[in-house]
């Protein structure tokens, strides 16, 4: 058993999750593959969305995977960093917008 929770080499074993639950594992990977195909959005655009979300959910495997995927798709580092900022802005905005709830409550309780 590894002494740390994250091992970069584990990413390669992701596909193995189907071994303990084949049907839903396979369904997941089919769905996953379909999602990232060219569609109304290009595969390139979806890769940038995935990279932004990877940062927001703080998944080190996903960050490794979608940085590499972006390089493969010819995405520049400037584009990647802007995508990360877009994710970060939504995440911090989501925190800050709760400030309105705080203000509402404050006003309600105050004379």
């Amino acid at each position: 058993m590894a002494k740390s929770y994250y091992d970069p080499a584990d990413l390669r074993k992701f596909g193995k999750i189907t071994e303990w639950s084949e049907e839903i594992g396979t369904k997941f990977f089919d769905y996953y593959g379909k999602v990232f195909e060219e569609g109304a959005l290009s595969a390139r655009e979806k890769s940038l969305i995935a990279l932004a979300v990877a940062h927001v959910v703080k998944c080190p495997y996903c960050i490794d995977a979608y940085t590499k995927d972006g390089l493969q798709k010819g995405i520049t580092k400037e584009e990647m960093m802007e995508a990360v900022h877009a994710g970060a802005a939504i995440e911090s905005g989501a925190t800050l917008v709760h400030g309105v709830q705080m203000m509402n409550k404050y006003d309600k309780l105050s004379m």
Binding site: R44, Q72, G74
Partner: protein, 351 residues
């Protein structure tokens, strides 16, 4: 960025055997990853055999005006291996009699061979269908004596295939050296100016894309679309097709993979992306590669590993297409580079 070849730096990877030792050892010897021979055996592709010869690829020498980080030839200004006119005469004799429809001239920078123009003129007379010169573009701007190359290519209806790692300056210069991007753009504009690469023009101009790092190329069609849009909008440049080529783990790219601690991950990525459909059309099945000194190889990569063809015909002066075609192709673990994903060859994807 290195300015000398591995050979000039006396790097141990300049020795072909050192490279083969790495490719045959480590994760493959320990059984973590399967040998290429065993992998293709699973789909009945071992031994790999040639099909009809279509492409005759000649390496005119390892001298180059650039020292690209990923170069599988270990080419550079310090390399003195250059094809002589005598060896070219042997090649011409074969070109006149071969069943191959494509002649593919490569290097180094093939244009730096002092007999390059003579050879092109003589080879053009042989009337081969598709006559390719692999140009690094910057050579056109490197020296006054090369400035008229676009006109020279046009005169002989040469199909120009040029390297262009990215449509942005940063990525291009990082792989190929400072200033390479601007010179390449200028050279492409000059090729366009004489009619190369324009829609409907029969002066063919294709670009080659190699990833600038330890990752595989993306979808060739999508990359071509991005390159076309960016080069047209930013520089008013047009070209025909983009070939996405995977970097094979040999020579300077192998040195980079090891030094950057990416070798194992890269080999895993190549093996995981193995595509049996690509094996069907891998370029060694329709190509013969000739080195500057006339030896014959299954491909340019085997040439750099000094793995000569497994045939009693090993040199251009003894060339016999029938005997040569009856051979097993020599393989090692670098071959995974040509069978990953959509496959890779000097003409781009194969599956």
């Amino acid at each position: 960025m290195a300015t000398k070849s591995l050979k000039a730096r006396h790097n141990e990877l300049a020795e072909k055997n050192e490279q083969l030792k790495i490719l045959n050892g480590g994760i493959f010897e320990e059984g973590e990853l399967p040998y290429f021979k065993d992998k293709i055996g699973l789909t009945g592709h071992f031994p790999l055999r040639p099909k009809k010869l279509e492409i005759f690829q000649i390496n005119l020498g390892y001298m180059c005006n650039q020292v690209c980080e990923h170069c599988h030839v270990d080419a550079g200004p310090d390399r003195k291996e250059i094809m002589t006119r005598e060896t070219m005469q042997y090649c011409l004799e074969v070109i006149r009699n071969t069943g191959a429809h494509t002649l593919d001239l490569t290097g180094g920078a093939p244009e730096m061979n002092p007999d390059f123009r003579w050879f092109v003129e003589e080879a053009a007379k042989a009337g081969i269908q598709d006559f390719i010169v692999r140009s690094n573009l910057t050579i056109i701007r490197a020296n006054k004596k090369y400035h008229d190359l676009p006109e020279f290519f046009k005169k002989h209806n040469v199909h120009v295939v040029s390297s262009m790692p990215h449509y942005t300056r940063g990525k291009t210069d990082k792989q190929r050296g400072d200033g390479v991007f601007d010179k390449s753009i200028k050279a492409l504009q000059e090729l366009n100016a004489v009619g190369y690469g324009l829609p409907d023009s029969n002066l063919k101009l294709d670009l080659v894309y190699n990833p600038s790092g330890a990752f595989l190329p993306g979808d060739q069609v999508a990359m071509e679309r991005d390159f076309k849009k960016a080069l047209k909008e930013d520089f008013d440049i047009q070209f025909h097709n983009l070939f996405a080529i995977t970097n094979l783990p040999i020579s300077r790219f192998l040195d980079y993979l090891i030094a950057s601690d990416n070798y194992e991950d890269y080999m895993y990525a190549l093996v995981e992306a193995y595509n049996p459909m690509a094996v069907e059309n891998v370029m060694c099945t329709n190509t013969i590669s000739v080195s500057w000194d006339g030896w014959l190889y299954d491909c340019d990569f085997n040439q750099m590993l000094d793995l000569k063809v497994d045939s009693k015909i090993k040199h251009i002066k003894d060339y016999n297409e029938d005997i040569l075609n009856d051979r097993d192709i020599i393989i090692s673990q670098h071959c995974y580079g040509c069978t990953a994903g959509a496959g890779s060859s000097c003409q781009g994807t194969v599956a």
